[in-house]
Assembly symmetry: C2
Homo-oligomer: 506 residues x 2
């Protein structure tokens, strides 16, 4: 049941006077529940409680935390159809997507639990003493990792479950023994509260300290800003826009004690298609990419927003087919009127640039539905105009027709950091691609061959991040088991008695 209140640890609290509703974008109406924004006092209460909880939570065993994570997954499952219903009402996304994303969320929680139950996940190092070493004896030194402390999580608009309240950031932080405070996303406050109730229930059932998790409602930016400024907060996880992520990054870095912010932000996910691929399978790729561009109404951070090819009749044919295929796909609802508004604005900003040609026929769509769009532009024009390099969040892609391969390489070398880069080519030309792979991989976190960038597999080999502005620190990933590395730090024990060493170092 949605109460509209904040969770400050296990306690429901609504001291504030700012109340807000979420929006059903399909009906373009407010949903019939209201959430109360957390007050400054409630925020301070949550961080203080969290900081106290850390003293006990950091001493829990990996097994205890695994049990906690599994209980969270079980409790989310137990929310049953209510969660799916609220998710759909708040996101405009279809039921199948809601169920799929719930499955992914449960899988993530259980994957971290499984990792914790194995002994080999800890990267320890042990050097034994050499008492008779000359000129001075060598001490026994052993290294392990400990949690940073309270992590504040800013969930994303486009994954109300998998990258939000109990998503990858929360799961990985809790797995490592860091208490979590979620700054609830205003677009899906009801979904967030339901998931938060499951986490709180799981925490109580598994005897976790009160304050190991809090969920704070917020409509504007104030709650998030106060949280990131709070000296009791020790790290931040964020998924969202470059503007939002950068603002939090700046606040965190300007603190007297700066803290790490892992922000997964924007990306236009360039795709390079070779002449041979256009000749052999142009039509097939035009179909595949029409699907990829419109997947989830284009609201994926890995959505392919930029397709690069060298001018040719086959590239023209591909571009036309892509445009005609894409308008044949049923238009879908966007997450929120403001996201639809940003889509329209950012798209028209690109389309209105000199030299940009819109290839799709305008569609008549319902309010808050996205009219999928494909445009094309010459390489020279693209190179000269940074406005064309900006992400348009939604089902939109620009095909850049390069004069030749060297212009294409120049464009690639000038790209900002990206989550992904994709190469579409024929097997027979693999040996000609070495330089392209080398250049492209400098700018991306994941590089795909003959596939689509949409779809982020949750597995150990996945990197979801990339050079700025794809993420704020390319050395970490938001997805996969290595995502825990964002929330821990090494510590060495020198000459330590066995009784006082952490279990994994004994």
């Amino acid at each position: 049941m949605i109460t509209g209140k904040n969770y400050i640890g296990n306690k429901l609290s609504a001291q504030g006077s700012i109340k807000y509703s979420t929006i059903n974008p399909v009906l373009n109406l407010e949903n019939n529940w209201k959430s109360t924004e957390a007050t400054a006092e409630e925020i301070a209460e949550a961080t203080a409680l969290s900081s106290r909880a850390f003293k006990d939570f950091r001493k829990t065993t990996p097994d205890q935390r695994a049990t906690f994570l599994e209980a969270i997954a079980d409790e989310i499952e137990r929310l049953g159809s209510e969660l799916i219903e609220i998710y759909c009402l708040e996101s405009g996304l279809p039921q199948g997507r809601a169920e799929g994303e719930r499955g992914r969320t449960l899988f993530q929680l259980r994957s971290f639990a499984e990792m914790l139950r194995k002994d080999d996940w800890q990267e320890t190092a042990i050097d034994f003493a050499i008492p008779d070493r000359q000129p001075i004896p060598k001490s026994d030194i052993r290294k392990t990792y400990i949690p940073l402390g309270t992590v504040v999580v800013f969930g994303s608009s486009n994954f109300p479950l998998a990258y939000s309240t109990a998503g990858g950031d929360t799961a990985s932080a809790l797995a490592m023994g860091c208490p979590v405070i979620v700054k609830s996303h205003p677009m899906h406050a009801g979904t967030g509260e339901l998931v938060a109730s499951a986490i709180v229930k799981a925490a109580e059932m598994t005897n976790m300290p009160n304050g190991v998790f809090s969920n704070l409602n917020s409509k504007g930016i104030e709650v998030g800003v106060q949280l990131v400024k709070d000296s009791k907060v020790k790290a931040v996880g964020f998924t969202g826009s470059i503007k939002g992520g950068r603002a939090l990054y700046d606040i965190a870095n300007q603190r007297p004690e700066p803290i790490p912010v892992f922000a997964e932000m924007g990306s236009i996910n360039p795709v390079i298609i070779t002449q041979k691929a256009l000749e052999e399978k142009g039509s097939q790729w035009a179909k595949t990419y029409a699907d990829s561009i419109t997947l989830g109404t284009g609201q994926f951070c890995t959505n392919p927003g930029l397709i690069l090819g060298v001018q040719s009749p086959e590239l023209d044919a591909f571009t036309s087919e892509l445009a005609s295929n894409i308008v044949d796909i049923d238009s879908m609802c966007m997450l929120h009127p403001s996201i639809k508004g940003a889509y329209d604005l950012n798209k028209s900003n690109v389309l209105n640039q000199a030299g940009v040609e819109t290839l799709t026929t305008p569609l008549n769509v319902e309010v808050n539905y996205a009219d999928q769009t494909v445009a094309k532009v010459d390489g020279k024009v693209f190179l000269a105009n940074p406005a064309l390099h900006q992400e348009v969040f939604g089902p939109f892609s620009v095909v850049v027709q390069c004069e030749n391969k060297s212009e294409m390489m120049e464009i690639i070398e000038g790209l900002e950091g990206q989550l992904t880069g994709t190469i579409i080519a024929e097997e027979s030309e693999i040996n000609d691609l070495t330089d392209l792979v080398d250049e492209l991989q400098q700018r991306v976190g994941r590089i795909i061959f003959n596939g689509v960038p949409t779809g982020v597999e949750v597995c150990n080999s996945m990197n979801h991040g990339g050079p700025y502005p794809a993420s704020s620190d390319s050395r970490f990933t938001a997805v996969g088991l290595d995502s825990v590395k964002r929330w821990i730090r090494p510590i060495s024990y020198q000459n330590f008695p066995s009784e006082l060493l952490p279990k994994e170092l004994k």
Copy 2:
């Protein structure tokens, strides 16, 4: 031979008009060679060359880079007595220390080379495809790490070799395939140039691309600031003061494209001594700590500047013995008049605070020599006065006499981040120390039992870093093989043909 010029890649260059000398602190005289500060044009030339060199350097094999690092070590050895002589003239440190530090530097370079020659250092992950997975097939995904790009290294004043031109930052960055530009430390510009000449020679001998290494002279802050602002620079390594490190950290974070800065900064390295240890071995520890506090004229980042005990006659006896032992040690020269000046100023600032009692008799020392000093203060006074928590770089330590254990814990809980924390106790009380270890380890990067914090072993289990302000990012270490993690980032290859995969993923 010292030319006083900058190395821009393999080329000697001195276009500027700002010339400066280093100082022989023992004689308090300028040395008879001059270095020419790099101009804005030379800096831009170095970053552009470095960025071009990266295109080839990143494609070198681990074996090739190992050969390069070994050649650097060999060439530094070949500098022979000239290097040792210049080192001593520029630092005031004795020959034995110079030789020891050179040995450490060579060991570091060769350790990274050895690591590169083994296949198991790369943290790869491979998930094979599952083409028949439902509802969608799973792609083959493989993850490895690639270098970030050009790293700018700011060497330290106190380790002209091991933490400077060819020190740990440079060695770890080159090991990973990142070109390095050293902002030469003005206090040992001659030593720096000699080491740079060895690196450049090694780069030429092993066919590394021109620009893989540059060494830029600088007297003030301008060269460093321009380097950190340069968009071609992708990461920064720094060892030095909190003020300097924080300034660079802020500049790097305010860039349009922020870059990671690993700054190893200040620390007062708290030591906790128990009543039992005072009773059983107080005199022994008073001797051991007099040595540790004065080691290297107290100019170690791990120098113990704060000793905490509970008020007792034994603590009084320990404090008096520490004070009398320490003044019996021969006073030694500091690195530079400005370091001696800062020592005097910062020390007198502490000694002049209300409630602080100086325990050592004033010493008559030569100019630029440090008069080692011990003071004491009550826990209550220490708690109330943040001025007493500041690092005094030099042979100085404050003994804090706490009223009781709970006041001691309060002090520990209020400490800023530290490189190290030490516990001196008897074996019989180990089981009473769990809470102390838990609290102390939250604030330090390395925790020592019955030992001294000075002396940083170069080994895999070493962590040299810690919560801010000990370092700018507690998740990384400046020493040990893991220090390479500062300069690399993960990248995933999805559905990639074997021919295009990096060797370690095939």
